[in-house]
Each structure stands twice: as C-alpha cells, then as structure tokens.
Symmetry: C2
Subunit: 478 residues, 2 copies
C-alpha cells in the first residue's frame, strides 16, 4: 500500500471534518462551501502567480493535488510542474492517472525526472520507464543510481498486465532463523516503504518463500519466540506471469492486503499491494463494459477524433453485418410489396431479439469475469438460457402478436410475428452463451465483439423466419 | 481486513506452490493435476461419508472451502453444515457469498448459530442478522452475550448500502496522551482481530477522532515518543450515512487500507476495511453493467423462472417503445407499398442509431460511476458527443449510402438513407449524454433504463427522417 493515511505537510494541521459531510450537525452553523481547489489553481495561474499555485498544490493531500493536476490543461501543467517541489512531484506522479502521469513526466527536466525516479516506489518507476520511448528510457536508466537501476532491471522484464508488471520488489523479508525481537529490530532498521508494514515474508537464504508473519503477531509475541513459530506456511502466492486479473481475483477471494509474487521455483520476486489490484479490478470491469458496447477501453471523452477513431471501426463492422441482414429482407421484396405492413415489424423483431440476446451475453460475460461460471459450465448455462429464451420469446412474441392482431385485425399476421420472435429470441439466448464461451475457449476476451455476432444471428434468423413464414402464408396476409 | 494471510489448521502444513502455476519449471516433472475439491466433497457425500467431507473442508483454506460450499446443492449443504466444526463454520460464513451465507445459516441449529455469531467479526454478524426475519433476529439477539449484543446494536441502525452498514466497530484506538511504548502494550493486550493491525486511531476520551498512527511508525519510534508526535492529524474519514460507493471511491483515491467512519460530530464509530470496499466496487460495476443491458442485478443464472421474472419486465417496456416506432413506420405504409426496398434499410437505420447511442451512453454512465465526469460537465460532454455523433453519422451514413446506391443503382435512395442515419446517430449521441445526466440530476441511477429511452429516440427520429424524406422524394425512388 503506497501512501500513508495522512501526510501532514509543512507542519500544517488539516481539519479532519469528514469528506462527505451530508448533514451538518444541528447545533453548529453551516460552514461556507469550501472554494473549489481546481478553480483556485486556475485563478492563480491566470494571475501569473505560479508559485502561489504550486504552494496551494503542496498544501493539499496528495490525492487531491493529483485530482487537480488531472483536470488542468497541458499548457497549465507545463507551467506548474517545473515549479513544484520534489516531494509534491513524487506524490503527484504516484496518485495521478497514467495519462496525467506521462504528461507530468514530459514537463520535467532530465535532472528533476531522475530525482523523482529515485524517490518514488520501484513499481511506479518501472511504469514511468514504460511510458518513455526506448532512447529516453535508456538515457534515464543511465542517470539513475546503481541501486535503483538494479531494482528496475528486476521489474522491467514483466508484461504490463501480469502480476510481475504490478509488483514492487521492495519487500520486507526475514530469515526463518530469527526471533521475533530480532525481526522487529530488522524491521526498524530497514528503509523499505514505511506505509507497507503489514506482512513480513519469511525467506531462505536463496529467497525461497517459506511463510508469512503478520506484524501484529510479531509485536504481541515474546521477543525470544522464533519467527518460525509465528509464521503461517500456507502462503498464497502467484507466479510473475499470472494475468493481473487472476491475481486480483485471488487477492479478493482470500481477503488479502498483498499478494507475494514468485518465480516458477518458488523464489520471492516481490509483492503486489491491494491498491494496485483494486485499480485492476476496476480497469477490467470498464474494459468488459466498453467492449460489450463496442467502445475501445481507452475512450476518455477527450478529443473528438480519438473518439471517432475508437468507435468507428466496430460500428463499421456492425454496418456490414446489418447490411447482410438487409440483404435477407431484400430477398423477400416481393412479399413486402404485397404486404407493406410487414415492414413495420422488422425493427421490432430485430430489436427484441437483439435485446434479449444482449441480456444473456451480459450476464454470461460478467459471470465469467467474476469467476462465477467457467467454460466447464457451458452445457448447464446453455440449458438454462435455452429455457429462459423459449419463455421470453413466447412472452414477448405473444405481446407483439396480440397488438398486431388487434391493430390490423388479422390473426395470421400475429402468428407470423410470434414465430419470428420466438425463433430469434431463442437464437439470441443460445448465441449469448455460445459466443462468449467460444471466445473464452479460444483464449480471447469473451466480451470482445460478441454483440456484433449476436445481433447478426438474431437479425438473420428473425428476418428469415418472419418473411419466410409470411411468404408461405402470403394469401392469408394480403 | 478479515482473514489472516494464511491459517494453518490442525497443524497441517500446506504446500506453497503458486496457485496459478502456468509454466512448470523445466527441470521438475509436471505434477499431476490436483483432484477437484468440489468433486471430492460430492463423492464423499454420495458415499454417505459426511465426516470425511467435513474433514476435507476443514483442511482447506477458508476461501477454498467457501468456494466449494457455494457450489454445493442446498440438500448437500444441509448435510455438511451441521457436521462442520465451529472454526470452519465461522470462516465459511465469513468467506461465502451472501446467498450461500444465508443458506448456511438456515441449516444451523439455534445453538450453533449463536456460537458462530459470537465468533465472527461484528460487521458480518450484523449482516447475518439482516438476513433473518424479525422474529428470528429478535430470538437470536436474546441468545447473544451482552457484549456482542451491544456491538450489534451499535451497527444495526445503518442502511446496508451506507458506510455505517459496512463498518466494524472493533477498532483499535489509543489515547493521545500515551507514548509509543504504552500504545504497543495496549495493542498487545487488546483482543481485537489480530489480522487488522495496520492503523491505530487516536481518539479523545469522548471518541473524537484526532489522528491516525501507522503501526510500523509505532514500532520504529523510541518507546518514550508521545503518540501525538507520531500521528497524522489529517485523517480521511466518512460519515456513517455516506453511500458505500462514495466511500469506496475515497478509499481507492487515497490508496488506503481502511477508512474510519464518524458521526456528524466527528466521533469515531468504526472503520471499513479495504476488502469490504473491493466487493462494493465490484458489485456496483456489475449493477451498472446489468442495468445498461436491462438485466436485474440479482440475476445469477440460477432458476429459470427467476431469470424470466428479472428480464421480462424491461423487455416488455422495450416492446412497447418498439411498437410505437412500428406505428411511425406504419404511418408511411403507402410509401412502403410503392418502394418496398425501403423496408430492408429500416433495421439498419434502427440498429446503427441504437449502437452509436449505446456507445455514448456506456462511456457516459461508466465515467459518471468512476467520478471521471460529473453533471457539471454536461455541456462539455454534450458538445464533444455532438461532434462525434455528427462525424460517426456521416461516416456510417456514407457507407450505407454507397452500398445502397451501388446495389440498387439509385443515388436518391442513398441520399434518403444518409439523411436518416445522420439524423439518428446524432440524436443517439445527444440522448446518450442527456439521459444519464438527467437521471443523475434527478438522483436516480444513470444506468437505469437509459437504453430503452435512447433506442426509442433513435428509432423514432431515424424512421421519421427516413420515411419522411422518402415520401418527399417518392418520385425519385420508384
């Protein structure tokens, strides 16, 4: 866990009113709404008071300063960042979003960047390194201390979406031969990040992971107790190549604060802390969310062209599948010429089949992501959704059928619609299970583009059933 | 944080191979695939070996035992649960999903339940109490020790989706007058959950929250240092009424392990630990996810009728709006009789307008949920999406137009389609911003039912533009 709960900077004592004070206590006067820190910073910059703006940022909590920086324009960042003190800069890099982080780094001189790289946690330094082009990264690496360079060389080989890519190598370890008292002395003398004190890992001389000790147990025990007696030996760990999402699930399932990362031989490489894995959980949810809606996960509502580039490709693919459904309709042009009212029900059939299928697809994709189901459950889920689809298709079909019958006074029209909706809502339910399960089996993201193929399946089957039946019964419909 | 990293039960030492071992080390033989614990338990139960099954569960890690219990049938649970020992039972209640938790509780005798209620953390005991009907809850309350009853009475008044509803009252506090050495002695003697040792809260005699001390700082300091000198006074806290999602955002933004909960006067009531807030983050993401797809958030792929009941209402509302779009189409029946091919493009227009709108809606809903935008950004986001919508509408419109022109050899047909798609994709972009922003302003969930109104808007505007223009240009289309 990076970041202590509170950092009193410059000796300033913060008021500790709750952040989400919703009801002012009845016997105290309602306080004035506090001035918006972002506006204050912008105002100071407009008055050319850069040192006033940085002073304000230095007084804020790190996360609040980061929030302000995230909302400043790049030009404003370019004025503020070079004037910030080293401590504020480090915590801004630590708390800001990846995009703002790389903007901050761009505005730093080489010397200031080197200084910041020495101060921030090693996993974050590796992330900063990953943001740079090869030449800049090599030059920055050259400028670092031997110690920091070694730490980074330890982390950089791992892919960004793996456990290794998230871990810090700055871990507190103790030898199994120590006593509790000796371990506490070592803890006191170590310079590892003071905000990460909750687990001590017990490792052999060759860093083989042997167990884990809770710091609380260490304090409570008599100083002469061997660490071996305090440690739990069934350590839950992951390998460095483990996907970050799997690592997050394991941490969450076991209610842990940190997860040790080991190599295939069980040697401790580092740990991932819960704050980094919370971000992974949220990122992965957003990614699935966006992919189901055919939006690229980098979409951030900044830059019109970027949004168009993100969204147009999938819309284009979708246009092609929609046009193939249009070709099915066009094949029945003669039927439509004779019974034009059929056209009014085409969008109802396409839409309701798609909606029912997307319901299934969403539940299956999310349940897969949360580990509630796996591909081994395909048959069971398919059977569940098939029955749900048949019932929903019948219900929705009857609803539209009765409206159509009442409206046009022709029960045969109702029958044609009922058949079409029953077919394509059932097809949608099956496709909503089959598509993500097949993607999962092919080791693809089950959320990826499933909606397109699902809607193609429901459109094609629905229109074919609808117009095919209508053609067959054409004498009843005219 | 509930749950120590590892609980060696019965003195059994667990192998500490990584859980996600993907590449076996090249120089060791590949181990046999471990037997599936669920199947083992089911096999033992089929052999009427209940004590064997419970022995197996008792040997597992708590989270793994909970996973097995979650997948057992209710009948199997009814056989296993009464035979489990108190410790395994408590951790099963602690790690199981809320549904399985209440199933476990249902299978306990009154005495066993009372015993478990004394052993589990207070916040979890309050959750169990909340699962019961009023009479059972009152009877259970009567059976508890005075201490536990008092603890629960402290927690029960808060709503389940508030910070108060998630907090534990079992907090480690120290007086500001103590020294570090005295605080450590107090920590040693306290019986609070040993797995939650990372922050010590400093409170006055009347429990006014004054500051927070990191346990590591306590160990590192000389024993005579006053706690006052070690504590940070700008504690980040929330009020008990704060929505759980807001509390989760604050914890995440500040990279905290726990969040103190206070009353409006700043008195410490309890703390929420990061593991509970991870579950909130995930729950809220699932809820938004499902609501956008018109699925109820309780959907769990169990029970066909439950799924139908969850999904049919929204599909029915959607059917009504789809039928109103059908009425618009029917109003142009004369046009469709004369140019039947227009019907083939109705689903393309409806579908692509809806898809583009859903892209916008998804990005806006998720960005609101993540706090990346607020209703104050409505104008800016609307302006962004309006331009994106105009560009996407033009691009998709031109694509379909060229296909239609090439296919039917009539540029006027292309023009009619271009106008319709341009209109309704732009309408979709605007509605995709306006609907969630309006819901947010009305203090409703922005994810709720937005898709229905959005698709109604794109269908109606698209069909009206399409068939209206076609009617106007009918002589060019025949």
């Amino acid at each position: 866990m990076r970041g202590a709960p509170a950092r009193g900077r410059n000796g300033r004592v913060w008021d500790n009113r709750p952040l989400m004070s919703q009801d002012a206590p009845p016997d105290t006067p309602t306080p004035e709404a506090p001035p918006d820190p972002l506006e204050q910073v912008i105002d100071l910059l407009q008055d050319e008071d850069v040192s006033g703006a940085t002073a304000l940022l230095e007084e804020m909590r790190p996360a609040e300063a980061a929030t302000v920086l995230e909302q400043l324009s790049d030009a404003a960042l370019g004025r503020v960042v070079p004037a910030m003190d080293a401590e504020t800069l480090s915590s801004a890099i630590e708390y800001a979003s990846p995009i703002t982080r790389s903007e901050i780094v761009r505005h730093l001189t080489a010397d200031a960047l080197t200084e910041a790289m020495e101060a921030i946690p090693d996993d974050l330094a590796a992330d900063v390194m990953g943001d740079l082009d090869d030449a800049s990264a090599a030059a920055l690496m050259e400028s670092l201390s031997d110690e920091r360079r070694e730490e980074l060389e330890h982390l950089l080989p791992y892919g960004p979406e793996t456990a290794g890519g998230l871990m810090t190598g700055q871990v507190l370890t103790v030898a199994p031969t120590l006593t509790a008292g000796e371990a506490i002395t070592q803890l006191r003398e170590s310079d590892a990040d003071a905000s990460k004190p909750f687990y001590l890992y017990v490792t052999d001389a060759d860093r083989q992971l042997r167990g884990v000790v809770n710091v609380r147990a260490l304090i409570t025990a008599s100083p002469s107790t061997p660490v071996l007696d305090l440690m739990a030996s069934d350590v839950i760990s992951v390998e460095a190549q483990t996907d970050q999402e799997d690592a997050a699930r394991i941490l969450q399932r076991h209610n842990l604060l940190a997860l040790p990362v080991v190599d295939p031989h069980g040697h401790l490489l580092g740990t991932i802390t819960v704050d980094d894995l919370i971000d992974v959980i949220e990122e992965e949810a957003t990614e699935d969310f966006y992919r189901l809606a055919l939006v690229h996960e980098d979409e951030n509502l900044r830059g019109v062209w970027a949004s168009v580039r993100n969204r147009l490709p999938w819309l284009s693919v979708n246009t092609v599948t929609a046009l193939s459904a249009a070709a099915v309709v066009a094949a029945f042009e003669g039927t439509l010429e004779r019974v034009a009212i059929l056209a009014a029900f085409l969008p109802v059939i396409g839409g309701q089949g798609g909606n029912a299928g997307i319901q299934t697809l969403t539940v299956v994709v999310r349940s897969l992501a949360l580990g509630r189901i796996t591909i081994r459950d395909t048959r069971e889920v398919l059977w569940h959704e098939l029955r749900v689809g048949l019932l929903l298709g019948l219900a929705v079909g009857l609803m539209v059928t009765l409206v159509a019958w009442g409206w046009r006074g022709n029960p045969w029209l109702g029958l044609v619609i009922l058949i079409a909706l029953w077919v394509n809502i059932t097809v949608g339910a099956i496709a909503g299970v089959a598509i993500p399960m097949a993607l999962q089996r092919l080791k693809q993201d089950p959320a990826l583009s499933g909606g397109i193929w699902l809607m193609a399946a429901t459109d094609l089957s629905g229109f074919f059933a609808f117009l095919g039946t209508a053609t067959f019964l054409i004498s009843r419909l005219e």
